[in-house]
Protein backbone atom coordinates (compact mmCIF):
# COMPACT_ATOMS: atom_id res chain seq x y z
CA UNK A 1 0.00 0.00 0.00
CA UNK A 2 2.84 2.39 0.86
CA UNK A 3 4.48 1.63 -2.47
CA UNK A 4 1.32 2.36 -4.42
CA UNK A 5 0.83 5.68 -2.63
CA UNK A 6 4.50 6.58 -2.98
CA UNK A 7 4.28 6.05 -6.73
CA UNK A 8 1.06 8.10 -6.84
CA UNK A 9 2.78 10.94 -4.99
CA UNK A 10 5.67 10.81 -7.42
CA UNK A 11 3.35 10.91 -10.41
CA UNK A 12 1.39 13.83 -8.95
CA UNK A 13 4.59 15.84 -8.32
CA UNK A 14 5.97 15.06 -11.76
CA UNK A 15 2.72 15.89 -13.56
CA UNK A 16 2.27 19.04 -11.46
CA UNK A 17 5.77 20.31 -12.16
CA UNK A 18 5.41 19.50 -15.86
CA UNK A 19 2.16 21.45 -16.07
CA UNK A 20 3.72 24.38 -14.18
CA UNK A 21 6.24 24.69 -16.98
CA UNK A 22 3.57 24.92 -19.69
CA UNK A 23 2.70 28.21 -21.33
CA UNK A 24 -1.04 27.90 -20.79
CA UNK A 25 -2.28 29.64 -17.67
CA UNK A 26 -5.01 27.05 -17.10
CA UNK A 27 -2.43 24.27 -17.13
CA UNK A 28 -0.32 26.16 -14.59
CA UNK A 29 -3.31 26.33 -12.24
CA UNK A 30 -4.06 22.61 -12.73
CA UNK A 31 -0.38 21.91 -12.05
CA UNK A 32 -0.58 23.79 -8.75
CA UNK A 33 -3.66 21.76 -7.81
CA UNK A 34 -1.89 18.48 -8.54
CA UNK A 35 1.17 19.53 -6.55
CA UNK A 36 -0.97 20.54 -3.55
CA UNK A 37 -2.69 17.17 -3.52
CA UNK A 38 0.63 15.42 -4.01
CA UNK A 39 1.98 17.18 -0.92
CA UNK A 40 -1.09 16.14 1.11
CA UNK A 41 -0.69 12.52 0.10
CA UNK A 42 3.02 12.74 0.85
CA UNK A 43 2.33 13.74 4.47
CA UNK A 44 -0.23 10.94 4.74
CA UNK A 45 2.09 8.28 3.35
CA UNK A 46 5.38 9.35 4.85
CA UNK A 47 4.04 9.21 8.39
CA UNK A 48 3.23 5.52 7.93
CA UNK A 49 0.00 3.72 7.14
CA UNK A 50 -1.80 1.58 9.71
CA UNK A 51 -5.12 0.04 8.76
CA UNK A 52 -8.02 -0.65 11.08
CA UNK A 53 -6.28 0.51 14.27
CA UNK A 54 -7.84 3.81 15.43
CA UNK A 55 -5.85 5.51 18.20
CA UNK A 56 -8.30 4.60 20.96
CA UNK A 57 -7.20 3.84 24.48
CA UNK A 58 -8.51 1.06 26.68
CA UNK A 59 -10.03 2.23 29.96
CA UNK A 60 -7.25 2.94 32.42
CA UNK A 61 -4.51 3.14 29.79
CA UNK A 62 -2.68 6.36 28.92
CA UNK A 63 -1.29 5.23 25.57
CA UNK A 64 -3.12 3.32 22.83
CA UNK A 65 -1.75 -0.14 22.12
CA UNK A 66 0.73 -0.15 19.23
CA UNK A 67 0.44 -0.22 16.29
CA UNK A 68 -2.15 2.52 15.92
CA UNK A 69 -2.92 5.02 13.16
CA UNK A 70 -1.26 8.36 13.92
CA UNK A 71 -3.99 11.04 13.95
CA UNK A 72 -1.59 14.01 13.66
CA UNK A 73 -0.80 13.73 9.91
CA UNK A 74 -4.49 13.44 9.17
CA UNK A 75 -5.17 16.61 11.13
CA UNK A 76 -2.35 18.33 9.26
CA UNK A 77 -3.74 17.23 5.90
CA UNK A 78 -7.21 18.39 6.82
CA UNK A 79 -5.80 21.87 7.46
CA UNK A 80 -3.68 21.76 4.33
CA UNK A 81 -6.62 20.68 2.15
CA UNK A 82 -8.71 23.62 3.33
CA UNK A 83 -5.87 26.08 2.79
CA UNK A 84 -5.05 24.58 -0.60
CA UNK A 85 -8.66 24.76 -1.67
CA UNK A 86 -8.89 28.45 -0.78
CA UNK A 87 -5.65 29.29 -2.54
CA UNK A 88 -6.63 27.42 -5.70
CA UNK A 89 -9.98 29.19 -5.82
CA UNK A 90 -8.18 32.51 -5.50
CA UNK A 91 -5.61 31.57 -8.14
CA UNK A 92 -8.39 30.65 -10.56
CA UNK A 93 -10.20 33.94 -10.01
CA UNK A 94 -6.94 35.83 -10.50
CA UNK A 95 -6.13 33.90 -13.67
CA UNK A 96 -9.55 34.75 -15.05
CA UNK A 97 -8.95 38.39 -14.18
CA UNK A 98 -5.61 38.34 -16.00
CA UNK A 99 -7.31 36.76 -19.01
CA UNK A 100 -9.96 39.49 -19.03
CA UNK A 101 -7.36 42.25 -18.74
CA UNK A 102 -4.85 40.92 -21.24
CA UNK A 103 -7.03 38.86 -23.59
CA UNK A 104 -4.54 36.01 -23.45
CA UNK A 105 -3.88 32.95 -21.37
CA UNK A 106 -0.39 32.43 -22.75
CA UNK A 107 2.09 32.96 -19.92
CA UNK A 108 4.70 34.22 -22.38
CA UNK A 109 2.37 37.06 -23.38
CA UNK A 110 2.21 38.40 -19.81
CA UNK A 111 5.18 40.67 -20.15
CA UNK A 112 3.85 44.10 -19.27
CA UNK A 113 5.49 43.81 -15.85
CA UNK A 114 8.91 43.28 -17.44
CA UNK A 115 8.88 45.82 -20.23
CA UNK A 116 10.57 49.03 -19.06
CA UNK A 117 9.04 51.02 -21.94
CA UNK A 118 5.51 50.49 -20.64
CA UNK A 119 5.03 52.81 -17.74
CA UNK A 120 2.31 51.87 -15.33
CA UNK A 121 -1.08 53.38 -16.13
CA UNK A 122 -2.66 55.65 -13.60
CA UNK A 123 -5.17 53.89 -11.40
CA UNK A 124 -6.69 56.72 -9.46
CA UNK A 125 -4.97 58.54 -6.64
CA UNK A 126 -3.58 55.35 -5.16
CA UNK A 127 -0.21 55.62 -6.85
Amino acid sequence: MELLLAVTVGVLYAAGLYLLLRRSLVKVIVGLALLTNGANLLIFTAAGLVRGRPPLMEAGETVPAAPFADPVPQALILTAIVIGFGLQAFAMALAYRVYRESGSEDVDALRTTEDPSISLPKVGAGQ
Binding site: L20, L25, V28, L32, L35, T36, G38, A39, N40, L42, I43, A46, A47, G48, D70, V72, P73, L76, T79, A80, I83, G86, L87, F90, A91, L94, A95, R97, V98, E101, S102, L110, T112, T113, E114, P116, I118, S119, L120, P121, V123, G124, A125, G126, Q127
Partner: protein, 496 residues
Amino acid sequence: MNWPVALPLVTMLASSVAALALLPYRRTQEGIALAGMVALTGAAGWLLLETWDGDILVLQAGNWPAPFGITLVADLFAAIMVMLAAIVGLAATMYSVGTIDAARERYGYYPLLNILVLGVCGAFLTGDLFNLYVWFEVLLVASFVIMALGGRRPQAEGALKYVALNLVSSILFLSGVGLLYAATGTLNMADLSLRVAEAESDGYMTAIAMLFLTSFGIKAAMFPLFFWLPASYHTAPAPVAALFAGLLTKVGVYALIRVFTLIFTADVGYTHTIILWLSVATMVTGVLGAVSHNDVKRILSFHIISQIGYMTMGLALFTPLALAGSIFYIAHHIIVKTNLFFVAGLIRRLGGSYELAHIGGLAKSKPLLAVLFFIPAFSLGGIPPLSGFFAKFVLIRAAAEEGEYVALGFALGVGLLTLLSMTKIFVEAFLKPAPEGHTTPPGRASGWNYVPIAGMAALTLVLGFVAEPFFSAADEAARQLMEPEQYITAVLGGPE
Protein backbone atom coordinates in the same frame (compact mmCIF):
# COMPACT_ATOMS: atom_id res chain seq x y z
CA MET B 1 0.40 32.40 31.35
CA ASN B 2 2.57 34.76 29.38
CA TRP B 3 0.00 37.09 27.87
CA PRO B 4 2.46 39.49 26.21
CA VAL B 5 3.26 36.72 23.70
CA ALA B 6 -0.31 36.44 22.46
CA LEU B 7 -1.22 40.11 22.75
CA PRO B 8 0.14 41.23 19.33
CA LEU B 9 -1.92 38.52 17.64
CA VAL B 10 -5.06 39.30 19.64
CA THR B 11 -4.87 43.03 18.84
CA MET B 12 -4.44 42.44 15.11
CA LEU B 13 -7.21 39.86 15.01
CA ALA B 14 -9.58 42.21 16.85
CA SER B 15 -8.82 45.20 14.64
CA SER B 16 -9.13 43.21 11.40
CA VAL B 17 -12.47 41.75 12.45
CA ALA B 18 -13.75 45.16 13.54
CA ALA B 19 -12.59 46.82 10.33
CA LEU B 20 -14.21 44.06 8.27
CA ALA B 21 -17.51 44.41 10.13
CA LEU B 22 -17.52 48.16 9.49
CA LEU B 23 -16.49 47.86 5.84
CA PRO B 24 -19.02 50.38 4.46
CA TYR B 25 -17.80 53.18 6.71
CA ARG B 26 -14.55 54.45 5.22
CA ARG B 27 -13.52 56.89 7.92
CA THR B 28 -14.31 54.44 10.73
CA GLN B 29 -12.25 51.76 8.98
CA GLU B 30 -9.25 54.02 8.72
CA GLY B 31 -9.61 54.86 12.39
CA ILE B 32 -9.84 51.21 13.41
CA ALA B 33 -6.84 50.22 11.29
CA LEU B 34 -4.77 53.05 12.76
CA ALA B 35 -5.88 52.28 16.31
CA GLY B 36 -5.10 48.61 15.76
CA MET B 37 -1.59 49.40 14.57
CA VAL B 38 -0.97 51.79 17.48
CA ALA B 39 -2.17 49.08 19.88
CA LEU B 40 0.07 46.54 18.15
CA THR B 41 3.05 48.84 18.53
CA GLY B 42 2.27 49.11 22.24
CA ALA B 43 1.89 45.34 22.58
CA ALA B 44 5.13 44.75 20.67
CA GLY B 45 6.88 47.29 22.88
CA TRP B 46 5.69 45.43 25.97
CA LEU B 47 6.91 42.13 24.53
CA LEU B 48 10.28 43.65 23.68
CA LEU B 49 10.57 45.06 27.20
CA GLU B 50 9.82 41.64 28.71
CA THR B 51 12.41 39.87 26.55
CA TRP B 52 15.06 42.61 26.50
CA ASP B 53 17.11 41.07 29.33
CA GLY B 54 17.38 37.73 27.60
CA ASP B 55 14.29 35.96 28.96
CA ILE B 56 12.32 33.74 26.61
CA LEU B 57 8.55 33.93 27.02
CA VAL B 58 6.48 30.88 26.16
CA LEU B 59 2.72 30.49 25.86
CA GLN B 60 1.30 26.99 25.51
CA ALA B 61 -1.99 27.41 23.66
CA GLY B 62 -4.87 25.82 25.54
CA ASN B 63 -2.41 24.83 28.29
CA TRP B 64 -1.43 21.73 26.34
CA PRO B 65 2.16 21.06 27.32
CA ALA B 66 4.79 21.13 24.55
CA PRO B 67 5.39 19.23 22.32
CA PHE B 68 1.74 18.21 22.10
CA GLY B 69 0.04 21.58 21.82
CA ILE B 70 0.85 24.62 19.75
CA THR B 71 3.49 26.76 21.36
CA LEU B 72 3.99 30.50 20.98
CA VAL B 73 7.55 31.54 21.77
CA ALA B 74 9.04 35.00 22.03
CA ASP B 75 12.80 35.11 22.25
CA LEU B 76 14.56 38.41 21.71
CA PHE B 77 14.89 37.88 17.94
CA ALA B 78 11.16 37.22 17.57
CA ALA B 79 10.31 40.21 19.78
CA ILE B 80 12.54 42.50 17.71
CA MET B 81 10.87 41.28 14.53
CA VAL B 82 7.36 41.80 15.93
CA MET B 83 8.36 45.35 16.93
CA LEU B 84 9.63 46.05 13.41
CA ALA B 85 6.45 44.60 11.90
CA ALA B 86 4.39 46.87 14.14
CA ILE B 87 6.42 49.95 13.14
CA VAL B 88 6.14 49.20 9.43
CA GLY B 89 2.45 48.35 9.74
CA LEU B 90 1.76 51.61 11.55
CA ALA B 91 3.75 53.67 9.05
CA ALA B 92 2.10 51.98 6.05
CA THR B 93 -1.37 52.51 7.50
CA MET B 94 -0.61 56.17 8.16
CA TYR B 95 0.67 56.59 4.62
CA SER B 96 -2.38 54.78 3.22
CA VAL B 97 -4.84 57.12 4.92
CA GLY B 98 -5.59 59.74 2.31
CA THR B 99 -3.54 58.18 -0.50
CA ILE B 100 -5.33 54.88 -1.09
CA ASP B 101 -8.23 55.22 -3.52
CA ALA B 102 -11.84 54.70 -2.54
CA ALA B 103 -12.23 51.55 -4.64
CA ARG B 104 -9.50 49.72 -2.77
CA GLU B 105 -10.92 50.86 0.55
CA ARG B 106 -14.35 49.61 -0.41
CA TYR B 107 -13.01 46.14 -1.14
CA GLY B 108 -11.40 45.74 2.24
CA TYR B 109 -7.94 47.26 1.95
CA TYR B 110 -7.62 48.07 5.66
CA PRO B 111 -8.87 44.75 7.10
CA LEU B 112 -6.48 42.97 4.71
CA LEU B 113 -3.61 45.15 5.87
CA ASN B 114 -4.32 44.10 9.44
CA ILE B 115 -4.64 40.43 8.53
CA LEU B 116 -1.34 40.63 6.68
CA VAL B 117 0.44 42.03 9.74
CA LEU B 118 -1.36 39.41 11.88
CA GLY B 119 0.11 36.67 9.70
CA VAL B 120 3.58 38.22 9.87
CA CYS B 121 3.49 38.47 13.69
CA GLY B 122 2.16 34.92 13.94
CA ALA B 123 5.02 33.63 11.81
CA PHE B 124 7.52 35.39 14.09
CA LEU B 125 5.98 34.12 17.32
CA THR B 126 5.12 30.52 16.60
CA GLY B 127 7.20 27.67 17.97
CA ASP B 128 5.65 24.96 15.82
CA LEU B 129 6.62 24.19 12.25
CA PHE B 130 3.16 23.37 10.92
CA ASN B 131 1.78 26.42 12.67
CA LEU B 132 4.45 28.43 10.86
CA TYR B 133 3.04 27.06 7.58
CA VAL B 134 -0.45 28.17 8.59
CA TRP B 135 0.76 31.70 9.49
CA PHE B 136 2.61 31.86 6.21
CA GLU B 137 -0.64 31.08 4.42
CA VAL B 138 -2.50 33.73 6.43
CA LEU B 139 -0.04 36.40 5.41
CA LEU B 140 0.20 35.11 1.84
CA VAL B 141 -3.54 35.09 1.22
CA ALA B 142 -3.83 38.63 2.56
CA SER B 143 -0.87 39.75 0.48
CA PHE B 144 -2.28 38.06 -2.65
CA VAL B 145 -5.52 39.96 -2.34
CA ILE B 146 -3.84 43.30 -1.53
CA MET B 147 -1.48 42.76 -4.45
CA ALA B 148 -4.31 42.07 -6.91
CA LEU B 149 -6.82 44.55 -5.51
CA GLY B 150 -8.05 47.27 -7.82
CA GLY B 151 -5.24 47.00 -10.36
CA ARG B 152 -5.34 46.96 -14.13
CA ARG B 153 -3.30 44.74 -16.41
CA PRO B 154 0.28 45.12 -15.08
CA GLN B 155 -0.83 44.72 -11.49
CA ALA B 156 -2.94 41.64 -12.26
CA GLU B 157 -0.02 40.07 -14.13
CA GLY B 158 2.41 40.94 -11.35
CA ALA B 159 0.03 39.44 -8.80
CA LEU B 160 -0.27 36.24 -10.82
CA LYS B 161 3.49 35.73 -10.91
CA TYR B 162 3.70 36.46 -7.21
CA VAL B 163 0.89 34.03 -6.39
CA ALA B 164 2.14 31.17 -8.58
CA LEU B 165 5.70 31.17 -7.22
CA ASN B 166 4.64 31.60 -3.63
CA LEU B 167 2.21 28.68 -3.95
CA VAL B 168 5.05 26.49 -5.20
CA SER B 169 7.12 27.64 -2.24
CA SER B 170 4.31 26.73 0.18
CA ILE B 171 3.98 23.27 -1.36
CA LEU B 172 7.70 22.63 -0.94
CA PHE B 173 7.47 23.83 2.66
CA LEU B 174 4.55 21.49 3.29
CA SER B 175 6.43 18.57 1.74
CA GLY B 176 9.38 19.32 4.02
CA VAL B 177 7.10 19.46 7.06
CA GLY B 178 5.56 16.10 6.15
CA LEU B 179 8.92 14.39 5.64
CA LEU B 180 10.31 15.87 8.84
CA TYR B 181 7.31 14.63 10.82
CA ALA B 182 7.73 11.21 9.29
CA ALA B 183 11.34 11.10 10.42
CA THR B 184 10.98 12.55 13.90
CA GLY B 185 7.33 12.32 14.92
CA THR B 186 7.17 15.91 16.13
CA LEU B 187 6.65 19.40 14.73
CA ASN B 188 7.49 21.46 17.79
CA MET B 189 10.64 23.34 16.83
CA ALA B 190 12.37 22.92 20.18
CA ASP B 191 11.57 19.21 20.20
CA LEU B 192 12.70 18.97 16.57
CA SER B 193 16.01 20.53 17.51
CA LEU B 194 16.65 17.65 19.91
CA ARG B 195 15.32 14.86 17.67
CA VAL B 196 17.12 15.99 14.50
CA ALA B 197 20.38 16.15 16.46
CA GLU B 198 19.80 12.53 17.53
CA ALA B 199 18.74 11.31 14.07
CA GLU B 200 21.15 8.88 12.45
CA SER B 201 20.78 9.35 8.69
CA ASP B 202 22.26 12.78 8.08
CA GLY B 203 21.67 12.59 4.34
CA TYR B 204 17.90 12.41 4.78
CA MET B 205 17.92 15.41 7.14
CA THR B 206 20.12 17.38 4.77
CA ALA B 207 17.71 16.64 1.91
CA ILE B 208 14.83 17.96 4.02
CA ALA B 209 16.95 20.97 4.96
CA MET B 210 17.41 21.71 1.26
CA LEU B 211 13.63 21.56 0.75
CA PHE B 212 13.25 24.21 3.45
CA LEU B 213 16.08 26.25 1.97
CA THR B 214 14.35 26.23 -1.42
CA SER B 215 10.96 27.08 0.02
CA PHE B 216 12.13 29.91 2.27
CA GLY B 217 14.57 30.98 -0.43
CA ILE B 218 11.64 31.67 -2.75
CA LYS B 219 9.86 33.64 -0.04
CA ALA B 220 13.00 35.57 0.83
CA ALA B 221 13.82 36.18 -2.88
CA MET B 222 17.26 34.53 -2.77
CA PHE B 223 19.24 33.75 -5.91
CA PRO B 224 18.13 32.00 -8.16
CA LEU B 225 14.53 32.13 -6.96
CA PHE B 226 13.88 35.86 -6.86
CA PHE B 227 12.24 36.45 -10.24
CA TRP B 228 8.76 36.96 -8.85
CA LEU B 229 9.87 39.99 -6.84
CA PRO B 230 10.97 42.50 -9.49
CA ALA B 231 8.04 41.30 -11.62
CA SER B 232 5.42 42.17 -9.05
CA TYR B 233 6.42 44.65 -6.33
CA HIS B 234 6.68 47.70 -8.56
CA THR B 235 3.12 47.26 -9.87
CA ALA B 236 1.45 47.86 -6.50
CA PRO B 237 0.57 51.28 -5.03
CA ALA B 238 3.30 52.93 -2.93
CA PRO B 239 2.12 52.01 0.61
CA VAL B 240 1.51 48.40 -0.46
CA ALA B 241 4.89 48.14 -2.15
CA ALA B 242 6.49 49.69 0.95
CA LEU B 243 4.86 47.23 3.32
CA PHE B 244 5.71 44.24 1.14
CA ALA B 245 9.25 45.44 0.50
CA GLY B 246 9.86 46.07 4.17
CA LEU B 247 8.26 43.02 5.69
CA LEU B 248 7.43 40.06 3.50
CA THR B 249 10.79 38.88 2.22
CA LYS B 250 12.13 39.34 5.74
CA VAL B 251 9.64 36.76 7.01
CA GLY B 252 11.40 34.33 4.67
CA VAL B 253 14.78 35.39 6.04
CA TYR B 254 13.48 35.03 9.60
CA ALA B 255 12.26 31.50 8.84
CA LEU B 256 15.63 30.62 7.29
CA ILE B 257 17.52 31.90 10.31
CA ARG B 258 15.18 30.15 12.74
CA VAL B 259 15.27 26.79 10.98
CA PHE B 260 19.00 26.84 10.23
CA THR B 261 20.03 27.83 13.75
CA LEU B 262 17.58 25.70 15.71
CA ILE B 263 16.91 22.57 13.67
CA PHE B 264 19.35 21.93 10.82
CA THR B 265 22.72 22.46 12.44
CA ALA B 266 24.07 18.92 12.14
CA ASP B 267 25.93 19.47 8.88
CA VAL B 268 26.84 23.14 8.98
CA GLY B 269 29.84 22.67 6.69
CA TYR B 270 27.52 21.57 3.89
CA THR B 271 24.28 23.51 4.33
CA HIS B 272 25.75 26.83 5.42
CA THR B 273 28.39 26.80 2.69
CA ILE B 274 25.58 26.53 0.14
CA ILE B 275 23.80 29.42 1.85
CA LEU B 276 27.01 31.49 1.77
CA TRP B 277 27.49 31.21 -2.00
CA LEU B 278 23.78 31.69 -2.66
CA SER B 279 24.02 34.86 -0.58
CA VAL B 280 26.91 36.17 -2.62
CA ALA B 281 25.06 35.41 -5.87
CA THR B 282 21.93 37.08 -4.46
CA MET B 283 23.85 40.25 -3.60
CA VAL B 284 25.55 40.47 -6.96
CA THR B 285 22.57 39.72 -9.23
CA GLY B 286 20.32 41.99 -7.20
CA VAL B 287 22.60 44.97 -7.36
CA LEU B 288 23.37 44.46 -11.07
CA GLY B 289 19.64 44.42 -11.77
CA ALA B 290 19.29 47.65 -9.80
CA VAL B 291 22.11 49.38 -11.63
CA SER B 292 20.63 48.48 -15.01
CA HIS B 293 17.19 49.99 -14.38
CA ASN B 294 15.95 53.55 -14.59
CA ASP B 295 12.62 53.34 -12.82
CA VAL B 296 12.69 54.29 -9.14
CA LYS B 297 10.47 51.45 -7.95
CA ARG B 298 12.26 48.84 -10.06
CA ILE B 299 15.65 49.98 -8.77
CA LEU B 300 14.40 49.72 -5.21
CA SER B 301 12.88 46.28 -5.87
CA PHE B 302 16.20 44.91 -7.11
CA HIS B 303 17.93 46.40 -4.08
CA ILE B 304 15.69 44.33 -1.81
CA ILE B 305 17.18 41.23 -3.43
CA SER B 306 20.76 42.34 -3.07
CA GLN B 307 20.20 43.27 0.60
CA ILE B 308 18.68 39.86 1.31
CA GLY B 309 22.09 38.47 0.36
CA TYR B 310 23.73 40.36 3.24
CA MET B 311 21.20 39.06 5.76
CA THR B 312 21.62 35.43 4.71
CA MET B 313 25.39 35.87 4.58
CA GLY B 314 25.29 36.51 8.32
CA LEU B 315 23.42 33.24 8.76
CA ALA B 316 25.86 31.41 6.52
CA LEU B 317 28.93 32.55 8.48
CA PHE B 318 27.22 31.11 11.55
CA THR B 319 29.09 32.94 14.29
CA PRO B 320 27.45 35.02 17.05
CA LEU B 321 28.90 38.21 15.58
CA ALA B 322 27.68 37.42 12.08
CA LEU B 323 24.17 36.59 13.27
CA ALA B 324 24.07 39.77 15.33
CA GLY B 325 25.07 41.58 12.14
CA SER B 326 22.25 39.86 10.27
CA ILE B 327 19.68 40.86 12.88
CA PHE B 328 20.91 44.45 12.93
CA TYR B 329 20.89 44.44 9.14
CA ILE B 330 17.29 43.21 9.06
CA ALA B 331 16.19 45.97 11.44
CA HIS B 332 18.07 48.61 9.44
CA HIS B 333 16.80 47.29 6.13
CA ILE B 334 13.13 47.03 7.10
CA ILE B 335 13.04 50.64 8.26
CA VAL B 336 15.08 52.07 5.40
CA LYS B 337 13.47 50.11 2.57
CA THR B 338 9.91 50.84 3.66
CA ASN B 339 10.78 54.50 3.82
CA LEU B 340 12.38 54.52 0.37
CA PHE B 341 9.19 53.14 -1.15
CA PHE B 342 7.16 55.82 0.67
CA VAL B 343 9.45 58.48 -0.79
CA ALA B 344 9.20 56.86 -4.23
CA GLY B 345 5.42 57.23 -3.96
CA LEU B 346 5.83 60.95 -3.27
CA ILE B 347 8.35 61.32 -6.10
CA ARG B 348 5.73 59.90 -8.44
CA ARG B 349 3.02 62.09 -7.01
CA LEU B 350 5.01 65.33 -7.02
CA GLY B 351 7.26 64.64 -10.01
CA GLY B 352 4.72 62.81 -12.16
CA SER B 353 6.60 59.58 -12.88
CA TYR B 354 8.75 56.76 -11.53
CA GLU B 355 10.88 56.96 -14.67
CA LEU B 356 14.09 58.86 -13.93
CA ALA B 357 14.24 60.34 -17.44
CA HIS B 358 10.87 62.04 -16.96
CA ILE B 359 11.51 63.77 -13.67
CA GLY B 360 14.01 66.17 -12.19
CA GLY B 361 14.56 69.31 -10.20
CA LEU B 362 12.77 68.04 -7.11
CA ALA B 363 15.52 69.31 -4.80
CA LYS B 364 14.65 72.87 -5.71
CA SER B 365 10.88 72.50 -5.61
CA LYS B 366 10.67 70.03 -2.71
CA PRO B 367 13.78 70.43 -0.53
CA LEU B 368 12.20 68.58 2.41
CA LEU B 369 11.55 65.52 0.25
CA ALA B 370 15.17 65.62 -0.91
CA VAL B 371 16.41 65.52 2.68
CA LEU B 372 13.98 62.74 3.56
CA PHE B 373 15.18 60.71 0.57
CA PHE B 374 18.82 61.39 1.31
CA ILE B 375 18.73 59.83 4.79
CA PRO B 376 17.39 56.35 3.94
CA ALA B 377 19.07 56.22 0.53
CA PHE B 378 22.55 56.87 1.82
CA SER B 379 21.91 54.69 4.85
CA LEU B 380 21.18 51.89 2.37
CA GLY B 381 24.42 52.75 0.61
CA GLY B 382 26.30 52.34 3.88
CA ILE B 383 27.51 55.88 4.52
CA PRO B 384 28.65 56.41 8.13
CA PRO B 385 27.24 57.25 10.60
CA LEU B 386 23.86 56.07 9.25
CA SER B 387 22.48 52.69 10.25
CA GLY B 388 23.51 50.86 7.08
CA PHE B 389 27.17 51.51 7.78
CA PHE B 390 27.16 49.68 11.11
CA ALA B 391 25.11 46.82 9.70
CA LYS B 392 27.56 46.28 6.83
CA PHE B 393 30.59 46.89 9.02
CA VAL B 394 29.64 44.13 11.48
CA LEU B 395 28.91 41.62 8.73
CA ILE B 396 32.15 42.36 6.92
CA ARG B 397 34.12 42.10 10.13
CA ALA B 398 32.47 38.74 10.82
CA ALA B 399 33.40 37.57 7.33
CA ALA B 400 37.01 38.66 7.89
CA GLU B 401 37.16 36.79 11.21
CA GLU B 402 35.96 33.64 9.46
CA GLY B 403 38.48 34.14 6.66
CA GLU B 404 35.81 34.29 3.94
CA TYR B 405 37.67 36.91 1.94
CA VAL B 406 35.96 36.23 -1.39
CA ALA B 407 32.50 36.77 0.11
CA LEU B 408 33.90 39.84 1.90
CA GLY B 409 35.17 41.28 -1.36
CA PHE B 410 31.83 40.78 -3.05
CA ALA B 411 29.99 42.35 -0.09
CA LEU B 412 32.19 45.45 -0.33
CA GLY B 413 31.80 45.71 -4.11
CA VAL B 414 28.04 45.34 -3.91
CA GLY B 415 28.00 48.08 -1.27
CA LEU B 416 29.71 50.42 -3.72
CA LEU B 417 27.26 49.62 -6.51
CA THR B 418 24.37 50.18 -4.08
CA LEU B 419 25.75 53.60 -3.35
CA LEU B 420 26.11 54.24 -7.07
CA SER B 421 22.50 53.49 -7.88
CA MET B 422 21.22 55.49 -4.88
CA THR B 423 23.32 58.40 -6.09
CA LYS B 424 21.79 57.90 -9.53
CA ILE B 425 18.26 58.32 -8.18
CA PHE B 426 19.32 61.32 -6.11
CA VAL B 427 21.05 63.07 -8.99
CA GLU B 428 18.39 62.28 -11.59
CA ALA B 429 15.25 62.92 -9.57
CA PHE B 430 16.42 65.72 -7.31
CA LEU B 431 19.50 67.52 -8.62
CA LYS B 432 19.28 67.61 -12.43
CA PRO B 433 16.97 70.26 -13.90
CA ALA B 434 13.50 69.09 -14.89
CA PRO B 435 13.43 67.71 -18.46
CA GLU B 436 12.18 69.78 -21.40
CA GLY B 437 8.44 70.05 -21.63
CA HIS B 438 8.01 68.73 -18.12
CA THR B 439 4.91 70.06 -16.45
CA THR B 440 4.41 69.82 -12.75
CA PRO B 441 1.59 67.34 -12.22
CA PRO B 442 -1.45 68.32 -10.24
CA GLY B 443 -0.56 65.78 -7.52
CA ARG B 444 -0.01 67.28 -4.07
CA ALA B 445 1.17 65.80 -0.83
CA SER B 446 -0.35 66.83 2.42
CA GLY B 447 1.73 67.27 5.55
CA TRP B 448 0.19 64.02 6.78
CA ASN B 449 2.10 62.05 4.10
CA TYR B 450 5.36 63.32 5.48
CA VAL B 451 4.68 62.09 9.02
CA PRO B 452 5.49 58.38 8.49
CA ILE B 453 8.43 59.27 6.22
CA ALA B 454 9.92 61.66 8.74
CA GLY B 455 9.31 59.16 11.55
CA MET B 456 11.09 56.37 9.71
CA ALA B 457 13.95 58.71 8.77
CA ALA B 458 14.28 59.65 12.44
CA LEU B 459 14.46 55.95 13.34
CA THR B 460 17.22 55.48 10.77
CA LEU B 461 19.17 58.30 12.40
CA VAL B 462 18.61 56.84 15.88
CA LEU B 463 19.77 53.38 14.73
CA GLY B 464 22.89 55.03 13.33
CA PHE B 465 23.84 57.58 15.96
CA VAL B 466 22.78 55.57 19.02
CA ALA B 467 23.62 52.15 17.61
CA GLU B 468 25.09 50.72 20.81
CA PRO B 469 21.95 49.60 22.74
CA PHE B 470 20.37 48.24 19.55
CA PHE B 471 23.49 46.39 18.65
CA SER B 472 23.83 44.84 22.10
CA ALA B 473 20.21 43.66 21.78
CA ALA B 474 21.05 42.09 18.42
CA ASP B 475 24.09 40.52 20.06
CA GLU B 476 21.97 39.01 22.82
CA ALA B 477 19.40 37.75 20.28
CA ALA B 478 22.22 36.15 18.27
CA ARG B 479 23.58 34.50 21.43
CA GLN B 480 20.15 32.96 22.05
CA LEU B 481 20.11 31.67 18.47
CA MET B 482 23.60 30.20 18.65
CA GLU B 483 22.93 28.51 22.01
CA PRO B 484 19.47 27.00 21.50
CA GLU B 485 19.54 25.22 24.90
CA GLN B 486 17.80 28.18 26.52
CA TYR B 487 15.07 28.14 23.87
CA ILE B 488 14.58 24.38 24.20
CA THR B 489 14.43 24.50 27.98
CA ALA B 490 12.00 27.39 27.90
CA VAL B 491 9.63 25.54 25.57
CA LEU B 492 9.87 21.96 26.80
CA GLY B 493 10.52 22.75 30.43
CA GLY B 494 13.77 21.19 31.49
CA PRO B 495 15.32 20.12 34.74
CA GLU B 496 15.14 23.21 36.90
